[in-house]
């Protein structure tokens, strides 16, 4: 199998603390992300002339904001750090996979299980921060008390599925390349590696979108149809006065409205 976890590079004492390839590659990806972002954001410009790397990061960040806003229909700011970190980490580790002697840390079940456990704990944290403990716990007996065991099973099984899905995809890509190397060693592995780049991006997207879907399902189930209708009725007469606070944005704004708000929101902080 993949020798990510069993290739031990350094150990301390009786294998209590050890560094294998998974941990080393995770650290490398983390360091690359942190140092890269620090270097790029060293000199930010708000004018029309900007660094090309700043442009790249702005594209990534506004893409993430747009996706989170469309999934949760809320202000994306509270969720951007968590979901964005998941996306950036998985996408970066898939990208760095083309470097020789490096393989994506997501090809180890330990990494993906850790990421899935983060999502598992993030759902109640965001849900309680938004709706209180009672409001969040009420989600489990929705639509009726008889659904309680199924909701709990669903919570556990989707965490397992999240971990195994990412692991299976990344590991199978690496394994197919390894098998092809022994059969057709010239062109075919490169093609498969190229496919692996695309699939790595898609997997990062799917992982972060699913995390956001789970988080927003933990939040939104609390909101009944009646509240939604009331908010929409309140919002309709004075829609063009002021940018409404995030709580009232939970109706279904049209796409133009969302786009406008997104841009105006993002211009704000860069000017000062």
């Amino acid at each position: 199998m993949h020798a990510l976890d069993t290739d031990i590079l350094w150990r301390w004492g009786d294998s209590f603390v050890l560094v294998n390839k998974t941990i080393l590659f995770t650290w490398i990806v983390m360091a690359a992300l942190v140092i890269g972002s620090l270097v790029v954001t060293w000199r930010l410009s708000s004018g029309p002339r900007m660094d090309r790397w700043q442009n790249l990061l702005e594209i990534v960040v506004s893409f993430l904001r747009r996706e989170i806003r469309q999934i949760s229909r809320q202000n994306p700011d509270p969720y951007l750090p968590f979901v964005g970190t998941l996306f950036l980490f998985i996408a970066a580790s898939a990208l760095v996979d083309i470097v020789p002697y490096f393989s994506s840390p997501a090809g180890s079940i330990a990494t993906t299980a850790a990421l899935a456990v983060c999502v598992f704990f993030a759902v109640p944290v965001f849900g309680i921060a938004r709706g209180g403990v009672v409001g969040y716990l009420k989600n489990y007996i929705r639509p009726s008390v008889f659904m309680l065991p199924f909701n709990i099973i669903g919570e556990a099984s989707r965490t397992l599925a999240l971990a195994v899905r990412l692991f299976g995809n990344v590991m199978s890509g690496a394994m197919v390349v390894g098998i092809l190397l022994s059969i057709v060693p010239f062109i075919a592995p490169a093609v498969m590696q190229f496919m692996g780049l695309i699939f790595g991006m898609i997997q990062a997207y799917i992982f972060s979108v699913l995390a956001m879907v789970y988080i927003s399902s933990g939040i939104q189930a609390r909101e009944t149809q009646m509240q939604k209708a009331r908010q929409r009725a309140e919002k309709a007469p004075h829609e063009h006065e002021v940018p409404s606070p995030p709580r009232q944005r939970r109706g279904t704004p049209s796409r133009d409205e969302v786009h406008e708000r997104d841009q105006s929101h993002e211009k704000g902080p860069t000017n000062d």
Binding site: A161, V164, R165, I202, Y205, I206, V209
Partner: protein, 95 residues
């Protein structure tokens, strides 16, 4: 036939069968989802973004059954616990 030969043979056959049978259902399901999504995009091109995102998420859900089968096949072939047990106990008996 010795125990190790029997376990090895059954593991290999079942590993192949697991991934072969387990990939039929998700393949049909994903093909159907993709066809429906393409039809929906052709009818409503404005909603292409929403449809594509939902398609990706749904396909990831459908695909997970195939990935479970893949992981089971990998476990059977590469890290089979029964094989390890039999070889370990045979080594213990040999000493």
């Amino acid at each position: 036939m010795t125990d190790t030969a029997l376990i090895g043979m059954v593991s290999i056959i079942m590993g192949g069968l697991t991934i072969a049978i387990g990939s039929i259902g998700p393949a049909l399901g994903e093909a159907r989802a993709l066809a429906e999504a393409l039809g929906a995009i052709a009818r409503q091109p404005d909603e292409a973004g929403t449809i594509t995102r939902t398609l990706f998420v749904g396909m990831a859900m459908v695909e997970s059954t195939a990935i479970y089968c893949f992981v089971i096949a990998i476990i059977l072939i590469f890290t089979n616990p029964f094989w390890d047990f039999v070889t370990a106990s045979a080594a213990g008996a040999g000493n």
